[in-house]
Amino acid sequence: MERILYLTHTEADGGLSKVALETLTSAVELSRQLSGSTLRLALWGGAIQTAADAVAGCGAEETLGVTGEEFADSRYASDAAAAEALVRAADATFVIAPASARLARTLPGVALRVGGRIDSHVVGMGAAGEGVQIQRWYYRQRMLATMTRSQRPWFVLVDPGLFETWNGEAGSATPRLVEVDLPTPYDRTRVVGIEAAKSQAQTIRPDADLLFVAGAGWTKKQADGQTHVKDAEELILGFLDSAQASLGGSKSMVEQSAEGEDVLSFMSHLNQVGQTGSTPRHAKGLATCCHGEEPHVVGWRFIHERRAINTDPNCGWAQSKADVLYVADAFALTAKVNELLRG
């Protein structure tokens, strides 16, 4: 019989993030499928009451909480102490948590402390008889494994974008507050701020329908023997603005930017998609001036509809990697697309 614990931190406003609410859906579904299982919630943060009330209708037996100023910031020492105390207090065998940056940093160490194991990048979860099976990717989205394990407690970090956002009834919860044994000192690390990668424009929009990828071709010499970087900047920013798209880049593109050449001023390492970049989730993706090599395309695993613009009809996208390849000059075509989008 699994004692399921849904575990997360709250946000600065005391509420829960989108991925936290999606993961709650997965936890509720799993507890319904697994006969004899129990579901508890555990929250920690500077404040937890808003979050506890918001999810009070999810059918959990109990809500546990850790709260206080010292738990407001995303910091390993205090987060790990809080999560450890909550897992122990719930006597959990199966811990489900959203894959936020904060939990991804915290939970592996917590799993070790409580003698458990952890799996991350979990994309599917279900009951199999008395037990649980999960699905997760290996080799950067190249292989999908279905697996189970015998060790408990078993922690899983659930990736974003897979489950519906939980939107059941709010209520009023009275969390059972759990004491935390904080290490001394617990605050050798101080969070001093949050920074955008580049100040000019917020180009990464995880909730956008469309991903626009700019490859190194945008900054290379064009048919007239010249580079046209300023034009490229205008066209790309114009497109992002009218299509409300999120901006991705190829490795070659972001590395040029990092090396300070005459390149797209708003492109940073955080925009990189692929093997050593991100694997964003969007309904559609449009690749421009990007060759579509395998280390780039592994980052497109969760982009459903894919189109590409490239002057080369034999580029990687033509090799069954895109649904449609437009063999065209991306400068001219993007200009026309922008005109139509604005019109």
Partner: protein
């Protein structure tokens, strides 16, 4: 700073990302077809960690870098030929499997136990580096568990910048959601930094450095202790390569106006 850093970088081999990978059922669970024959590279994010470590050590007197690698000895030896000319480090090798289907918990145990025995390592000066995830298991959990085993309670994941300050504190930028950074200040070592791409390009080859490194690398490989790393308690029910071939429609003869109209229709759909 009166004392430099002791930088330990955990990093091993992964198949070259340009290779096609195919899962097979091995004697002890899933494995890759021709795993031992596949060309291997230094795990990319761990590579960034190594270059950042070497850079930091060069800028901080009295510092030293160790690279702790768990992998099949013969493959490690091949790998060392390519990375020895790029960064100054002392290799500490463990001979064992480096495939993706091994368990992070077991790998972390082997790495931590090995780090505890490094002669001359001062753990109060330790900056424990590694990649934020491997290109094989891609779990992003190993470094935190190594850190826990070494009782380090200041940990950072997906680091792009780590800068020692004049007052002895260390300023760290970690990637968080939506293309932003969390900026933290840590009182000083010991700490764990699991790196994303960092800020440095891959260093050029330096043949002299390579020869100097190889002098300690060969004995380290000979001394490599066997590490029994598997996936105890895990049952893989299926491992598949999802079909992702698309019937690409190549639009070549249409005008720019026609293509633009089609793209806009698709975006608005």
């Amino acid at each position: 700073m009166s004392q430099g850093f002791h930088l330990v970088v955990c990093g091993s081999i992964v198949p070259d990302p340009l290779q096609t990978l195919e899962p097979i059922q091995g004697a002890e669970g899933p494995a890759l077809k021709n795993e031992m024959m596949l060309p291997a590279v230094l795990d990319p994010w761990a590579g960034h960690a190594l270059y950042e470590a070497a850079h930091l050590a060069a800028a901080t007197p009295d510092s030293k870098v160790w690279l702790v690698s768990l992998g099949p000895r013969a493959k490690l030896q091949q790998l060392m030929m390519t990375i020895a000319p790029k960064a100054a480090f002392e290799l500490v090798a463990l001979d064992g499997p480096a495939g993706g289907f091994t368990e992070a918990w077991e790998t972390a145990e082997a790495l931590a136990e090995c780090i505890k025995t490094i002669p001359g390592l001062d753990r109060s000066r330790l900056l424990l580096f590694g990649g934020c995830a491997s290109a094989s298991r891609d779990a992003g959990v190993t470094m935190q568990m190594v850190g826990e085993r070494l009782e380090i309670s200041d940990q950072f994941l997906a680091v792009d910048e780590l800068t020692p300050q004049e007052n002895g504190t260390i300023r760290i930028l970690e990637r968080i959601e939506a293309g932003r950074y969390q900026v933290s200040e840590c009182a000083g070592p010991p700490l764990v930094a699991a790196w994303a791409t960092g800020r440095l390009p891959e260093p050029p080859n330096n043949a002299q450095l390579g020869m100097q490194n190889m002098r300690s690398i060969m004995p380290a490989l000979q001394k490599a202790q066997p590490a029994r790393v598997g996936a105890e308690g895990v049952e893989f029910l299926e491992v598949e390569v999802p079909k992702q071939r698309r019937n690409t429609r190549v639009v070549e003869d249409a005008s720019v106006d026609e293509m633009a109209r089609e793209i806009v229709e698709w975006i608005r759909k």
